[in-house]
Symmetry: C2
Subunit: 226 residues, 2 copies
């Protein structure tokens, strides 16, 4: 019997798709990326909605396991393949894994909101012929900078956000940062020495470079702006 193939339904440009691909590459797992024609709204119709009722990419299948929500998929992969590739949850220690979980929640509840809003203004708006709203950017950047001040302090004492090694607490940040680092607001990262060193480490990992190769939305966009 053939081994079940992992299927990721999504597009490589999508940050949430990329989050799952990063985990698959860190684990060295084979998978099939099943493209979804988001331009024609295929993700808002059946049969896709049976995979993800929220109509968002990605959706995920591993044999008879069908999941959505990138961070949940990554937890599943990290736990199922704990001993393969990078140990992304440090599950062997309940204390260490709880620290990883804490910083995963920080990404989800403090970092994700403002960086999503800034990227939307800087990258998505121009795709629709709209100018970025500088008021929104200013307000969201202030929130993001407050979060990054706390990261700077954390990373002055800990090599990675989740502890002494690279985990999902770091990985989950990467997709939005890939695009953010192409915007004029990238100085929010580069001006903070420990945050910048952390970004240099996590962005040059083999898995990151492999997945980033599929994330070229920003280049076309910023070329158009010039």
């Amino acid at each position: 019997m053939a081994k079940p193939i992992i299927k990721v339904h999504g597009i490589s440009l999508s940050t949430c798709t990329a989050r799952v691909l990063l985990c698959l590459h860190e684990k060295g797992l084979q998978y099939q990326l099943v493209p979804i024609d988001v331009a024609s709204g295929a993700h808002k119709r059946q049969p896709y909605l049976s995979l993800n009722p929220f109509g968002l990419v990605p959706a995920f299948e591993d044999g008879n396991v069908s999941l959505f929500e990138s961070r949940a998929i990554n937890r599943y992969l990290a736990r199922k393949h704990e001993d393969k590739g990078t140990d992304l949850l440090l599950s062997k220690s309940s204390t260490e894994s709880a620290i990883v979980e804490t910083w995963m929640e920080v990404e989800a509840h403090h970092f994700n909101g403002p960086i999503f809003a800034i990227n939307h203004q800087r990258i998505i708006n121009p795709l629709y012929g709209l100018d970025p709203d500088e008021e929104i950017i200013k307000s969201e950047l202030e929130k993001l900078e407050n979060v990054l001040d706390i990261y700077e302090e954390r990373l002055s004492k800990s090599e990675y956000l989740g502890g002494k090694s690279y985990t999902l607490a770091d990985l989950n940040h990467i997709p939005f940062l890939v695009y953010f680092m192409k915007t004029p607001n990238a100085t929010a990262i580069t001006s903070r020495p420990h945050v910048n060193a952390w970004w240099n480490k996590i962005s040059t990992r083999k898995a990151t470079i492999e997945v980033e190769a599929g994330m070229k939305l920003h280049l076309a966009n910023f070329d158009n702006e010039k």
Copy 2:
């Protein structure tokens, strides 16, 4: 040697504090609620910031384990005390636990944002002498109703959001719903039969009733409005 006492630094009125208390009550764990004088800003100063650098309640200590972020604390408690009280992560099955994780992420990324915004307008604004902004409520309610339509479909096929038994995927929703159900927008829940039946089940659990007893902000507030 005395058994280490779990300490929750926070206030019983706070939704995120209540989220952790719900988990502790479901597990039947002893704890100490250490009150934080949020009115005087104690959560924005040391020594509290060393427990939670984001200056938000709650913070958590279990012996030498110090955590913050309510959902991370709940994962830690559910995993450490897997066999005590209610099994809140279904960790014995990687497939079942992945479904729980998926609906936990749904709560965090789809439900939390709009219900937080509505509660803020309806409950927090009046505390500061401000009228609720009906435009914000309308827009956020539309988002929440879309999410609840998906919950209605899910709950027509599954007794609980995360599967056939009560888990963190349900529990994490409770604190905001306790306040939301006292607002005029509670019909978003009561008008959907499966969502309403789910709320009736989860809101009448012994642990929920015990923790809700400390969440009386809404009563004072809505009494004042009348």
